[in-house]
């Protein structure tokens, strides 16, 4: 997909950096190419969106084409956590812990209305976190209730674009 075809280009501009020396940018390009094409998600789903995530991994939509079918059950080995479903107050510390257990670099996709903003449970509800970004930093938001698998694939492509903007210097800074 060409860059112009993506709908959310304006925000991406703010992430973009200028300059950098030639050697570093080449290494960056190689590493970012590797990272963006090999995003292994954690098997983590809380509710309905998890079913659509499974559907995205299944034959019809086939996550594997992007090289991200390697669902890892252990957070140590995964790069991406797709928060698919509602996060409630009791689950929030667990989610934070899972995120902390993942090794750098790690990415988060908030999938579905509940993870983006609390969705159907925003009002009148006593036990729901209103948006998973209150707990862990989110890279890409995918609205929908639940988003169809294509929407998830689109979100993953957005994430790949974002990963491609990273430089080694950035990651080092984050690790500090």
């Amino acid at each position: 997909m060409k860059e112009a075809d993506f709908l959310d280009n304006a925000t991406l501009e703010t992430f973009k950096h200028t300059g950098g020396n030639v050697l570093l940018t080449t290494i960056d390009d190689v590493i970012d190419w590797g990272r963006s094409n090999s995003v292994w998600p954690l098997t983590f789903a809380t509710s309905c969106c998890g079913i659509e995530m499974m559907a995205a991994g299944a034959s019809r939509h086939d996550f594997a084409r992007f090289g991200i079918e390697v669902y890892r059950a252990s957070p140590r080995q995964s790069d991406l956590i797709v928060v698919a479903g509602t996060i409630v107050n009791k689950m929030a510390p667990v989610l934070k812990r899972l995120y902390d257990q993942m090794s750098e670099p790690k990415y988060v996709i908030a999938m579905g209305a509940c993870a983006v903003s609390g969705g159907p449970f925003y009002y009148n509800c006593y036990h729901v976190v209103r948006g998973v970004d209150h707990v862990i930093p989110v890279d890409v938001y995918i609205p929908g209730c639940p988003p169809r698998p294509e929407a998830l694939l689109y979100g993953v492509m957005q994430l790949q674009r974002k990963i491609k903007l990273a430089t080694i210097a950035d990651v080092k800074r984050i690790q500090k």
Partner: protein, 375 residues
């Protein structure tokens, strides 16, 4: 002389070994947490901890009008979304004593059965995956997409539809509905044979499921295990037979009953239910009468003060809705008797003395949907 007190040497006694399955674990199908105490690999006891997806739907319903409740029942047992909604609609219709058109009843029954099939397909896919047969997952979901296409064509979305409203349907079915349903049944009758060849007849599968997790009929009733899991133990609990709603009284189908009650028969019960569901759909699909797709409803629905109870048969068992109304447009108290919550209670009883691998198989055969447990 001092008395010698013998104390048993503790050092050589085996310690209890606890492991924590979940909240993030591939085989708990969501965010259920099981604290399992083991002896070697054998499960000594098990404590389920729920609430990791407790969203307080019952409390939220007290603030919502009846049509709005539909969108919350969708999200309880998302794999039987249509059937849950059917329960709420029937509750409102019975309370207001509205006669819905025959067409609506037919359509609802057909869509309910399609929902049951897609739920069982997903269950089959996950059951295979939990036992380690990863390919099952893909075949199950491949065929499920066909039903989701039918839903999307008529209802507009794949998983959570909010298609039923009190009094009827959101809109009429798509003109292609009957044709695509018939195509699907033709397609699925072929594909379900693959399911049997791949998993049901497999020697490894049979060894792993037969005589594992036996549940007697008395226990099934006492624990309130309904749905295919209960019927595999001989507990005749099919609401479609005992308290027919929709047009189930016009369809000819068999209540799948077994007496063995082990994991294998819970599996077979669900496989047979898919055949029965297809049979029901085939009987009804050509006879959908013409007519309105909704009864006349007032803009604001108010239930007369009183108590109402409605039971429907979801893909996992008996779903009960107990509603106390004080005459307002919102219910005073609404309680969802979710089948999964009762089914969860038996997990400890079933898995004692079996291995961890069996625990996974038993859990998969009970077919949990965690958001339905926690609500």
């Amino acid at each position: 002389m001092k008395e010698v007190i013998h104390t048993p040497v503790k050092a050589l006694e085996e310690e209890e070994y606890h492991i924590n399955m979940g909240p993030q674990h591939p085989s708990t199908h969501g965010v259920l947490r099981l604290v399992v105490s083991l002896q070697g690999e054998i499960v000594k006891s098990l404590k389920p901890h729920c609430g990791y997806i407790h969203r307080g739907i019952e409390k939220m319903c007290e603030k919502d009008t009846y049509p709005q409740i539909i969108h919350l029942t969708d999200r309880m047992d998302y794999l039987s979304a249509h059937i849950n909604n059917h329960g709420v609609c029937l509750l409102v219709e019975d309370a207001l004593q509205i006669e819905v058109p025959e067409r609506v009843k037919y359509i609802r029954t057909i869509i309910d059965e399609l929902t049951r099939i897609q739920s069982h397909q997903l269950w089959w896919a996950c059951f295979g995956m939990d036992l380690g047969g990863l390919t099952c997952f893909f075949y199950g979901l491949r065929d499920r997409e066909k039903i989701l296409d039918i839903f999307e064509e008529s209802c507009g979305s794949r998983l959570l539809h909010s298609y039923y409203t009190p009094g009827g349907l959101m809109w009429d079915i798509h003109p292609n509905f009957q044709k695509s349903v018939k195509d699907f049944i033709k397609y699925f009758r072929k594909k379900i044979k693959d399911y049997d060849r791949l998993l049901s007849g497999n020697i490894i599968f049979m060894e792993r499921t037969k005589n594992v997790g036996h549940l007697s009929k008395e226990d099934a009733i006492s624990y309130g295990i309904t749905g295919p899991s209960g019927r595999a133990s001989g507990f005749s609990c099919d609401i479609r037979k005992h308290h027919p709603y929709g047009v189930y009284d016009k369809a000819d189908f068999r209540e799948i009953l077994f007496t063995e009650g082990d994991t294998y028969h819970r599996y077979i019960a669900r496989m047979d239910e898919m055949h029965e569901s297809m049979k029901i759909i085939e009987q009804l699909i050509d006879n959908i009468p013409a007519g309105d797709f909704s009864a006349k409803m007032k803009a604001v629905i108010k239930l007369p003060a009183g108590e109402y109870y409605q039971r429907v048969e979801t893909a996992r068992g008996e779903m009960g809705i107990y509603c106390i109304s004080d005459g307002n447009k919102t219910p005073y108290r609404i309680k969802f008797r979710s089948p999964n919550f009762s089914n969860l209670g038996v997990l400890d009883h079933l898995s004692r003395g079996f291995k961890i691998a069996d625990l996974v198989a038993i859990g998969a055969s009970l077919d949990f949907v965690i958001p339905d447990i926690d609500r």
